[in-house]
Amino acid sequence: MNIENTKAQMRKGTLELCILAIVNKKDSYASDIINTLKEKNLIVVEGTLYPLLTRQKNAGLLSYRWEESTQGPPRKYYALTDKGRQYFKELSESWEDLVGVVDSIIANK
């Protein structure tokens, strides 16, 4: 057992939910999402985000549109689809349940 590894696994498990949460708040492009996640120490390296975004988009949870940028190339702005919103709702409910259960277990100890 490696504590760092366990922590990383925990972060990873919640990553999907966090992405949906960020996009739910405001349509975002990849770098926005990265900056938010990095700030909160949820991801260490940026590359890990892209496969997740692509898979979520392919799963029909996210959609994107191109927007011109004043600096650099056009940006891909992600937004939640209806299915994504539904998915997000369910996931966040399940997250709250999980947090409650885990908290209570820890407290009882």
Binding site: L15, S31, V45, E46, G47, P51, L52, R55, G72, P73
Partner: protein, 520 residues
Amino acid sequence: MKKALKINLSGLVFHIDEDAYEKLKKYLDAISSYFSDKEESKEIINDIEARIAELFQEKTSRESEVITADLVEEVIEIMGNPEDIADTAEDAGNQKKTGFSGKRASRRLYRDPEESVLGGVCGGLGAYFNVEPLIFRLLFVLLFFFGGASILVYIILWVVLPRAETAAQKLEMRGEPINVSNIEKKIREEYDNVKDNAKAAAKSDSVKQAQKGAGEFFTVLGNILLVFIKVILIILGTLLVLAGIVTIIAVITGAFVGVHFFPFGPYETSLADILAPFSDPASITLLIIGLSLLFLIPLIAMVYGLIRLIFKIKSQPRGLGAGAITLWFIALVMSVGIIAFESSNFSKSGSDRSDVKLSIPSDTLTVSVNATMREDVEDFAMIDIDDNWYFSENMEVIYGSVRLDIESSGTGDPSLEIRKKSKGRNWDDADENARRLSYYFEADKNHLVLDPYFFIEDPEKWRFPRVSLKLLIPENTVLVLDENTRDILDDIYNLNHVSDWNMAGKTWVMTDRGLKRTEE
């Protein structure tokens, strides 16, 4: 001084050092190798490229600043190593790549696109069982010729087995653990391959472009056609190889062991036997070795080349080609040398002439041929060259046909002129060779019995030997030609203009103008 390249990353142009470029390319290739789904991998790579472009932009102050290897390294640090990137993908619920459940080091059967002749089935089998793919290819081809079911098995495997496309799949195919260092190693190998052959890469790119343009339907149709042609070529090639091998065996047995030549007799005859009369055994052996190599080397080269083509053997022993060519030239020089040297044995003509007086008690002479000898030679001779020379079965004696001419001796005594002729290295040698020819006849009163053949007891000394006889008889001699002289009569002048063939079995009289038929 460093070489810099211009690259287009997500629509932005960057100047980048060559080593930095290679590092970046390797990194991107490594990432894409983790994803089995082509479309998905392309999309992810595009996004990552866009981000890298952004990072480059942030981290370079001026527009013209060159991207260095250090900067690439820094960006890679930010983006994370390929393994981590792929790892998140796994956690995202995509389980199709893990293959077997559990943790054993798995080995899976794939088709190997790098080791493919047709579909890479044998390459994959070879990788799976860790044996040379060649063995499976031989097996498939051999089984095809013994019934043909193997082609069906091949097609089924082709359809059923997935292609090993990503580095991870290729490692799995070989049963190597899938970890970062192995994947990187694999990518580096592939990358180096491409770099080594930039032209091939460019070509394949253009092929891909062309395929894209032609549309899916024609691509599929083209591929089917291509495979069909390949299958036919492989079958043809294999047949050629078999034919080549048969020819090689034939050349070897013909030259050294001996072949059953039906027309010549019941014994096996080799090239050595045929050449035996022309020279001594040592030169003949050398000549046969030389001639055999002359034929065998190109034959073997052809068969070997075909096998290499069919079975895609890449490695070649160093110096094999050069060695073969050298050996071939040695064989050529040796053969030409021996032939030139040996043919000098035939360069000069010599002869030996003897006249034998015949005493005929009356003025009638009967000429016949030694029938026993003729039967013996015809029954037991082994090789018959041009109806002129016959070899005894044990090759110890050569018989040669004699020719008989008949002329008038005027008023002189009857005689038989025996002229032996042969070739030789020089005049003396030729004369000596002529003298060695043995010829016998029997003169008994009015009866002259001629041997139909002369002979040499030393077959190595065969130098185009010939013996011609000239029978001189005085005018008014009555000449009875026996029926069996037919074959030895040669261009005899006669007043009746009867051909040689028809002169035998008839009675003639010598006149002052030549032979004339007697009235019967």
